[in-house]
Symmetry: C2
Subunit: 388 residues, 2 copies
């Protein structure tokens, strides 16, 4: 029976690069920018960091490496640095491992960084890297998620109009975010008229191919006030892995993600959350495709299965709604450099909980959720963060 | 200042496949064999395992995947599985992360697995994968380590005869190990006459290209006796990363590995070891090349820098010596499926500490050391294990 490290670990600093087509930055340049931004935000001397975790899916792109790139970027030599990779949940799982290490008593202060250069490599966003299991089975990421979206609409109704509302909302939020890849509004008409990538997904239903990095400095909760009063506490952690061949699983109903349900159950149990939609004030969730966000509402327990199209349609996940989702702009608008995304979501939730999100600030934000979904819907990581 | 989790985590079961040219086993087949062997050894129902860590460097070879392959192999669905990658220290770092997670109180029982299919991929053992930093700089693994070996002999004397003694010792030990890739003795003459790969390394100075997997079940130390009386405790953990470009570092004297020195200092501090050569009863160290083992003697503090050739020459690291090194046969004879190696070393040390190593048993083994060295000598992980 899993235990709990609730309230034992604090986030005292966060940093994030501008996300986008960062052709002028190497993998290590991205780590320098995000890492030192997090150190400055934590008001900490880099030497005080005792260990680090790097979340990266494809480190060799952009002439980068794995753990040694973080050492070279931050001149952090002779210390422990672990690379974690867990598909699109890479960044959140790196954070989870770092948090458990601090909670164990091994380290007082640790760094988590996530980084990816996707623009310098053959992967072109809508396919996947050579040798990736999707390609083994002749299926691309949009194709896999589109199969589920079609099945979902067949069973519960709804269609491309609901998807478009997610895109419009996330682009609206991203238009207020100076670090987002895309800072532009889109209309429902634009989304619906965009070229089809894999039915029912058009171009504006898919997250872009993006470079970026983000970082967070964490420490033992009882030390946090040494650094800043508005630190953020780790309330819940969950990670769940299901089959890597979901399309061969006859129990898979193709209308959502068991990994997200299992990971959120773990995180809610640790955080003591009984009614997520009432207790959580904002959520950064994995909108790799617009339909994924609709499924996430349901799998995370914000509404019942099949009601996600109403959740978006009624504006409940808008900035002005009762549970704003992806106030940052989401993967759709902020971009999705794989290993960076989870840490970038933590950056956004911390910024919101501190009340520093400017035009996209969620009112009275006290408890926030971060969610990544990876592989063919097989890996999910959920983190709940809260004010002390 | 780093803390300690000494004596908080126990190893209650270990498993290991035969290492070799396992063309008839997929990546997942290897995980099935090692994982269920570890469950049986721990006398535990697989359902009791709450979380897992998978150490693998190149999971996509052998038609494998990353975390989802472990889920599918062991039918371990809905639970946390993290993939760790840290060059050749991948297996040991996976173990380190699992141990900290158990020590944190998040999980009572966890699995660590390491696996690699190297025979099914273009990498041919003496080179490295496409896109690897060694190839960026036009340097292969034997080439990098050979540069250091030559510099070392230039400064301290010695030569291929000392290297051959390491190969002869490790092949001798491996000849008594039914799971080793090579179970054959070699003579000094054979080693010295083998074709040169990168001077001073001949073919018998280089570890082979191997498939294999190993696994360990760990739990909270205070629960260990529920499973077996002869459990093994985690005494020390250390991980250190240095520059990924050591050949551009003017402070690098090219006669050893700062990462190993830093990682062993961390592990010895946690374990309370002041005099390693007197206190440690056996060591499994990273002999990717014969010279690496000689340098490891020094970097791990078994003797002073420059005295490693005497350490092997005087038979101190032989099975009958005062600190037997690589009783398993080492990477040289057992093989080196990258992510599996560190966990396989843990398997050997646990087997030795339990007194179950048969013909290669080290007498009165109470404290054992595991050491991996990865990247261009840039990443080292050291684990100290002991009887309760």
């Amino acid at each position: 029976m899993a235990g709990s490290i609730k309230d034992q670990v604090a986030i005292i600093g966060v940093g994030c690069t501008k996300f986008g087509d960062n052709f002028d930055q190497s993998f290590e340049d991205l780590l320098v920018e995000a890492g030192f931004a997090a150190f400055a935000d934590a008001r900490i001397e880099p030497e005080r960091v005792e260990a680090a975790w790097l979340g990266t899916f494809s480190p060799y792109a952009g002439n980068g490496k794995a753990s040694v790139s973080l050492a070279d970027a931050l001149r952090m030599y002779g210390k422990p640095i672990t690379r974690v990779e867990n598909y699109c949940a890479t960044g959140t799982d790196a954070f989870r491992n770092a948090a458990m290490a601090v909670a164990s008593g091994m380290y007082d202060v640790a760094l988590v960084a996530g980084a990816e250069k996707l623009k310098d490599r053959p992967m072109r966003g809508l396919g996947w890297e050579g040798g990736h299991p999707y390609q083994h089975d002749g299926v691309t990421a949009p194709g896999v998620f589109a199969l589920s979206a079609n099945r979902y609409f067949h069973r519960f109704g709804g269609g491309r109009e609901s998807l478009a509302k997610v895109s419009v909302k996330n682009h609206h939020n991203g238009s207020m975010n100076p670090k987002a890849h895309f800072q532009m509004e889109v209309s429902e008409e634009q989304v619906l008229k965009s070229p089809i990538v894999a039915w029912p997904f058009g171009l504006f239903d898919c997250c872009p191919t993006t470079d970026g990095a983000a970082a967070a400095v964490i420490c033992r909760a009882d030390m946090a006030r040494q650094f800043r009063d508005d630190y953020v506490l780790v309330k819940g952690l969950g990670l769940a892995v299901t089959s890597g061949r979901p399309w061969y699983d006859s129990a898979n109903e193709y209308v959502g993600f068991a990994a997200t349900r299992a990971a959120s159950e773990q995180a809610y149990r640790m955080a003591g959350i009984g009614n997520p939609v009432a207790e959580i004030d904002l959520a950064e969730v994995h909108d790799c495709f617009t339909w994924t966000e609709i499924s996430n509402y349901e799998d995370l327990g914000f509404c019942r299965k099949g009601e996600g199209t109403h959740f978006i349609g009624e504006g409940r996940s808008a900035l002005s709604g009762d549970l704003p989702v992806n106030p940052s702009g989401g993967l759709k608008s902020f971009g999705h450099p794989i290993g960076a995304s989870g840490v970038r979501m933590i950056y956004e939730v911390v910024t919101q909980l501190r009340g520093q999100a400017g035009a996209r600030q969620v009112r009275d934000a006290e408890l926030g959720l971060v969610h990544n979904l990876g592989g063919p819907g097989s890996v999910a990581c959920v983190i709940v963060l809260g004010r002390p």
